[in-house]
C-alpha cells in the first residue's frame, strides 16, 4: 500500500494499491490503465493555482496543476498511451456545518468541479466519482481491478 499525502502524487503497479487517508474538502483523483494494471493518484487540496500566494508549491496541491502532472507521470514517465487512461475521483465534502467563510460555494464543490474540468480538457474519461456531502472519506485504489473503495466513519463503505 502506498500512501498519498496532502498535495502528493504517487504511482503504483498491481499488486500495490494507492491510499489516501481522511479526505475532507480535498479530492483524491486517480488515473489508471486497465490493460497495464497501474495507476497514479493525486491528493488535490484547492481548485486553482492562481489562488496561490507563494512562489513554489507541489503540483499535486491545485487541480489545474495536479491533473497535467498526473497525465505526465502516466504517459511520459511510465510510457502509457494517453488513450488508455481513465479517471475516478472521490472527496470534495464540506466538513464544517455552519460555514460562514465560504458563503458563495464550498471549496469541496469547487475542487470537484475543477478536477472534472481538467479531466475533460485533456479528454480523460471520468468513469466514476463520489463527491460532495459533509463526511470524510478514506480511499484506496487497486490498479489490479480498477476498483476504488471509499470508507467513511458513519456512512459505511462504497465501491466505485
Amino acid at each position: 500500500m502506498i500512501l498519498v499525502g496532502l498535495s502528493e502524487i504517487k504511482f503504483a503497479e498491481s499488486p500495490e494499491t494507492l491510499k489516501s487517508l481522511g479526505l475532507g474538502s480535498c479530492i483524491g483523483v486517480i488515473l489508471y490503465s486497465d490493460r497495464a494494471h497501474c495507476a497514479g493518484m493525486a491528493h488535490v487540496m484547492l481548485p486553482d493555482s492562481s489562488l496561490s500566494c507563494s512562489g513554489s508549491f507541489s503540483p499535486g496541491k491545485y487541480a489545474d496543476t495536479a491533473v497535467p502532472a498526473l497525465i505526465r507521470l502516466m504517459t511520459v514517465i511510465h510510457g502509457l498511451p494517453m488513450a488508455e487512461l481513465k479517471a475516478k475521483m472521490a472527496g470534495g465534502a464540506e466538513m464544517f456545518r455552519a460555514s460562514q467563510r465560504y458563503s458563495t460555494m464550498s471549496i469541496g464543490k469547487r475542487n470537484a468541479e475543477a478536477v472534472g474540468n481538467q479531466l475533460s480538457k485533456y479528454r480523460v474519461p471520468l468513469v466514476a466519482a463520489e463527491t460532495g456531502h459533509d463526511f470524510g472519506r478514506t480511499i484506496e485504489f487497486d490498479p489490479g481491478n480498477g476498483m476504488l473503495v471509499i470508507r467513511t466513519i458513519l456512512r459505511g463503505e462504497q465501491r466505485i
Binding site: G24, S25, M45, C53, S54, M95
Partner: protein
Amino acid sequence: MHQLSDLTPTHLDLLKEAGNIGAAHAATALSTLLHERIEMNVPSVTIMPMNELMKKDAEKYVAATFIEVTGGLKGCYVMIFGEQQANSLISRLIPSGTVDDGGMGSSAFCEISNILCGSYLSAISSMLDTRLIQSPPDFAVDMEGAILGEALNELSLYDDSVLMIDTALFHQEQQDKLSGEFLFMPYPGSLDLIFSLAAGETSL
C-alpha cells in the same frame, strides 16, 4: 512580508511563550467551567509540512471547532477532542448531550471552544499588546484529517508548511477520559509583529 523560513529560535521562543500564557489562561477557564482541575503540557512550537501534520491521526474520529483570528495576528485556532472525550466533556455540563446531537450538546461544545479560544487570545493579545478578534466557531465531527484538511485550506495558499503552536489540556486524574488538543496557526503574513517584537522595535 516574512516567510516561515525566516523564523529563528528567538522567534519560536517568543511564540512558545505566547502559547504558554494563552494555554494557561485557557486551562484556568476550563477548570472554572467544570469545577475540576485541568492541567496543561508545555506547548510546542513547530514548523511542519502540512502533509505530515495530516498523516498523524488522519482517520481518528474527532470533534473539532475552527475559529478564525483577525486583528494584529491573523491565523486560525483549532480545538480537537476525540469523539468520546468530547462527549465526556459535554456530559459534565449537559448530562444528556452528545457532540453529535445537533442541539444542546454540539452547541455546548462550540461554546466551550469559544470561551477557551477567547481566554487564550486575550492572554496573547495583552502579551503582544495587539488587538485580536475571533470569529464564531465552525464545527465538525468526523475524521481528523478531513477536518484539518479543510481548516488548512486558506493557510495552504501561503506555504506548504504550517507554523503550529500546539498545547494539550487534560484532566489531572482522568487523562484518558478528558483531554484535548489546541492548535493556534498564525498566517505567515502576520508574523511581522513577531519579528518587530523580537528585534526590540516594539517593547513588550
